[in-house]
Structures are given as structure tokens and as C-alpha cells.
Amino acid sequence: MKQVFKRPKSLADVPFHFCPGCHHGTIHRLVAECIDRFGLQERTIGVASVGCSVFLYDYFAVDVLEAPHGRAAAAATGVKRARPDDFVFTYQGDGDLAAIGTAEIIHAANRGERITVVFVNNAVFGMTGGQMAPTTLLAQQTTTTPFGREETVNGYPIRMTEIMAQLTGTAYVARCAVDTPKNLMRAKKSLQKAFEVQVENRGFGFVEFLSACPTNWKMTPQQATTHVTEVMIPYYPLGVYKEEKKGS
């Protein structure tokens, strides 16, 4: 019988700690599949960030450096400069990348660092218990916006993918979601492209994943995934925002 589904080699054989309905597990799997697809397991150095995804090193069977909150892109810059032939990726949440780490991500992208960034946007600080993130939607209730996010107080949900696409140093920039099988397949393809631009030494690769956080959104897993489809995607449109053609 032909085996059609198995655990990627670079994904450790341990159960995820993530909450039921969280999309991190799916996104982890997609990243591991990409590492395997390009045969990178033995030359990958992952940079973990601070947030729910800090335990990256428990799930990926690759070398991992744990960076301080927001500093993953700077740490990855150091790793990549020292190991230009290895594959370097960061995996960062919206608090890490779009709040405290905004300077680091923009400048790493602007330098065109040959790294791949996986940005997981669930519109909330997950690990600390559901506080407002820069990506929290207007009117969304969080533990620090108990009456809903108000633009006059907190400003607007930040669209990082659009910002990254403006920077000359980026080679591939896309926003994806894993809310439906169709979107998941597209996300997989986008992630491959973001890997490819590094492997082919073409530039900085960036993929934003819209992700569900049922626990902090106070929803069931099904409701949370539907929320991604119906509320997140309209504000954060999916698609490829930048794709430098080979040799361009």
C-alpha cells in the first residue's frame, strides 16, 4: 500500500502543546515539510522568538537559537552572516515581530538578509494571556482592550506584509491562511517560494500566516477558524504581495 501521509523528518515525534484549534501546529508542519522538501534539515538553523512559538526547539529536529523578544531578525542576521551556506529561518508572532521587533524586522528585510521569516498573526498576545497586539482588529476585545480596540486610543491594526513588500530588500512577500484546505495548499506554495529565495540566494523571504487563537478569542476551534475566514481575511487580504522573478 502506498503511504500518502507521514510526519516530516524534521518534525520531532512529540505532541504539540498548543491549545485545541490553534493554527501553530499546522504552520509548524508546513515549515517542517519545506525543510524536508529542500533537503535542509542538516543545514538549518532556526531562530525561535518569544511567545507561544518559543518552544519551536521542542518540535523541530534542527539546530535552534532562542532570541530575546523581538530580536529574532537581528539574531538571524548574525547567524546567516556567519553561516551563509546554511538555511536560517525565524518564526515570530505578531507581538514579537510587529510590536517590539518592528525595527529589527524592517532593517533585516531592508538589508535583504538571506533569511526566511515565518510571521504568525493571530491578532493577540497569546502566551501572556490575550492582551492587545498591534494586529488586533478594531473593536476586538482583549484583556487590555476590554471595551474593544479603539483607533483613537490604540491606532490601527498594522499590516506588516504590505510594509515588507515596499522594501527593496525583500524578494518574496505573501500573506496566507490555513483556514481552508484550499488556503492551506496556497500557503504551502508560498512558504516554498519564501524558502526558495533564500536557497537561491535571491533575497529576504517573508510569509505572514493568519492564525486562530481560540483560547484568547474565547471561541471554539470551529468558531475561531471561521473568524479567520470571515473577519481576519477581509482586513488582511491574502495573496502574494511581492515576487522578484529569477534573475531580475
Binding site: 534539515q41 542538516e42 543545514r43 538549518t44 538553523i45 531562530v47 525561535a48 518559543v54 526547539y57 523541530f60 529536529a61 534542527v62 539546530d63 535552534v64 537559537l65 532562542e66 532570541a67 530575546p68 530580536r71 537581528a74 539574531a75 538571524a76 542576521t77 548574525g78 547567524v79 546567516k80 552572516r81 556567519a82 553561516r83 546554511d86 538555511f87 525595527a103 529589527e104 524592517i106 532593517h107
Partner: protein, 353 residues
């Protein structure tokens, strides 16, 4: 010493030269006065030596780039000055927690806040106590000459690798900007086998460098392990003493002020006063045992600092309370050898019979 092959260079340049001689492969930094000669020197000369220089978007980014490159086993340096060093403290704490080596140079200016660009020793507490969060220490080397800027920077790389810990070189605007003859010498340190570096898991198990420990008791164990390491650093204590054998009053100072004091102490000696100089070269670990030993036969100690008094606390811990006088000069002006001589004379006349 023959000066025939000596170069006339600034302290900042000597630091860059020492780093390259010690095998520094990467430098990450952000401009700030009065240490800009270091990144400028490195940007020109590090690539010639096969390394790379990168100007970062901030001091925060610099220290984290250092962390990334050092995690792969490379020898890496960053430099800054006081406010910039404050920004690096988070990263230094993580380097200690994750046991990643690196060399951090602080050519200090003055504070608090934006302060000024004149020399100061007001960063002593920050440097020796670990200015970031958590229970950690870093070795701190305090040069007092251009030659020592060179020598101690080389040594800093060796100590960082030996202890898998960041090492700080603590100078100031005076040392960084003054020109003196420097006699470059070959780096003789031995390369340390690094079996912890992240180089991709080729034919081996994946490695992890982290500072997060959440399981019951895990972090307690980690901190005790680090504590034992910091204690073992005591064997790296270094100091210079001049004329302490028959001294009744020993003046204690580090870095640039010790340099000025060498003249003041000679003046006191010429006037028949039994004055010696004790200069900690490692300010962490502090030469506590050597000073305690001196305390048995010296009548009085005097600490002199370019601050309102920080190292004096370590001196008092070493020699006991009630035996230390202090002269402080907060930043904004530099004391002359004559001025410091008069301060020594004041204390000598009052305290020594």
C-alpha cells in the same frame, strides 16, 4: 623596551587592532561618540582580515547580531558607549543565560541620560554587577593605556571562549581618544574546542542555545551552575601594584584615573610620603583577596574615581569599613596629576602619623 616598531595610535584603534589580531571575525555596532573610531577602524580593516563588519540599526540589534554570529562559534565583538551599552544589557543577560561568548567594549562617556561625551567611570556598577536582569556576571577588563587596550581586548576574546560568557572591556573617552605608542604583539591564545555551536545538525543531534527553563527546579539548577562558573572566574583576577610594599597609604583606582594617578603618586613619593598605587585590571572579578592581604599592613586606603563613588564600595568590602577615604570627580572635567596629588596629600596628612 625598544620603541623601534611601535605605532602611534588611539586607544580606540588599539582595540580594533587587538580584536583583529585575536581572530575577531565579525563586528556589529552602531555609531556613538566617543567610540566611533572602533567601528570606523573595523569597517576598513576587518574585511581585509577576512572578517565582516556590519553597521546595525541600533545597539539592541548589534548585540543580538553578535549573539547570532557567536552562536555559530565565530569570534565576535561589538562596541559602544554608555547609553548604547545600556541598550545592550538585555542581550548581555541573554548571552549569559544561553552561555554564548562575545566581547563588548564600553568606551564610556558620561551620564546619567544623554550626559556628555567626556570620560567617566560612572558605568562601573552597570559593568560589574551585570546591568541587565537576572543573576549573572561578566568578566570586566579595565585598560589604562593604549597598549592595554590592545592586550586586554585580545585577552577578552580568550576569556569569553574559555568561560562561554560575554566579556566586557571597560574604557572611557580619555583612553579611546588619546594617542600613545603601541607595540603590537602576536596573539598567543589557544583556540577552544566549541562542541556547542549551531552549525546545522550534520550527522549529529540538533543543538539548542536557550535561556528559558520552565520545569520545576530546572532554572534553580541552571543558576547554580552559572554561579559556580562565575566563582571559577576568580582565577582570572589581575591587578598592578606600584610601591605598595612599604606604603602607609595605598590609593586604589582603575582605568584612566589610575593612569593620571601614577604621576600623582610619584609626586607624593618625591615629597617623602609612603604612598602606593593599587590598580585593579579586572574590575570583575575584583582583586578582593590581594587587597584584603594588603589591609593587614597598610594604615589607610583611598579610592579615586571619575564618579561620585562606585568602586569604593568594592574596596570597602575587601578591606573593611572605616579604613577608606574617597575622592570622586563626577564627569565634566578631568583632574590633573597635581590636583590628585593635593587630594592624596590632604588624606595623608590627616590619616597617617
Amino acid at each position: 623596551m625598544s620603541r623601534s616598531n611601535a605605532l602611534l595610535v588611539k586607544g580606540n584603534e588599539a582595540i580594533g587592532m587587538g580584536a583583529i589580531e585575536a581572530g575577531c571575525q565579525f563586528y556589529f555596532g552602531y555609531p556613538i561618540t566617543p567610540q566611533n573610531d572602533i567601528p570606523e577602524f573595523m569597517s576598513r580593516h576587518l574585511p581585509e582580515a577576512g572578517g565582516s563588519f556590519l553597521q546595525a540599526e541600533s545597539e539592541i540589534a548589534s548585540i543580538n547580531m553578535l549573539m547570532g554570529a557567536a552562536a555559530t562559534g565565530a569570534r565576535v565583538m561589538t562596541s559602544s558607549s554608555s547609553p548604547g551599552i545600556s541598550l545592550k544589557q538585555e542581550g548581555i543577560s541573554y548571552l549569559c543565560g544561553s552561555q554564548i561568548p562575545g566581547v563588548i567594549v564600553n568606551m564610556s562617556r558620561s551620564g546619567p541620560g544623554l550626559g556628555g561625551i567626556s570620560p567617566s567611570q560612572g558605568d562601573y556598577f552597570q559593568a560589574t554587577r551585570g546591568g541587565g536582569h537576572g543573576d549573572y556576571r561578566t568578566i570586566v577588563l579595565a585598560p589604562h593605556s593604549v597598549q592595554e587596550c590592545y592586550d586586554l581586548t585580545m585577552r577578552a576574546f580568550d576569556l569569553a571562549d574559555r568561560y562561554r560568557n560575554p566579556v566586557m572591556v571597560l574604557g572611557d573617552a580619555l583612553l579611546g581618544q588619546m594617542k600613545e605608542p603601541l607595540k603590537p604583539r602576536k596573539h598567543r591564545g589557544r583556540a577552544v574546542d566549541k562542541d556547542w555551536v549551531l552549525t546545522g545538525a550534520r550527522g549529529r543531534k540538533p543543538r539548542l542555545l536557550k535561556s528559558l527553563y520552565l520545569s520545576e527546579g530546572e532554572l534553580t539548577k541552571h543558576n547554580w551552575m552559572l554561579h559556580r562558573k562565575y566563582r571559577s572566574m576568580r582565577r582570572e583576577v589581575r591587578f598592578e601594584s606600584v610601591g605598595v610594599e612599604d606604603a602607609k597609604l595605598v590609593v586604589v583606582a582603575f582605568g584612566s584615573v589610575a593612569r593620571i594617578l601614577k604621576n600623582s603618586v610619584s609626586m607624593a613619593r618625591e615629597q617623602g610620603m609612603a604612598v602606593g598605587l593599587f590598580r585593579p585590571i579586572t574590575v570583575y572579578p575584583f582583586p578582593q583577596a590581594a587587597l584584603r592581604k594588603l589591609a593587614g599592613r597598610v594604615e589607610r586606603f583611598m579610592a579615586l574615581e571619575l564618579s561620585t563613588g562606585q568602586m569604593v564600595e568594592d574596596l570597602e568590602l575587601a578591606v573593611g569599613p572605616g579604613t577608606v577615604d574617597f575622592y570622586g570627580r563626577p564627569p565634566g572635567s578631568i583632574p590633573s596629576p597635581d590636583e590628585l596629588y593635593r587630594e592624596i596629600r590632604k588624606v595623608y596628612r590627616k590619616r597617617i602619623r
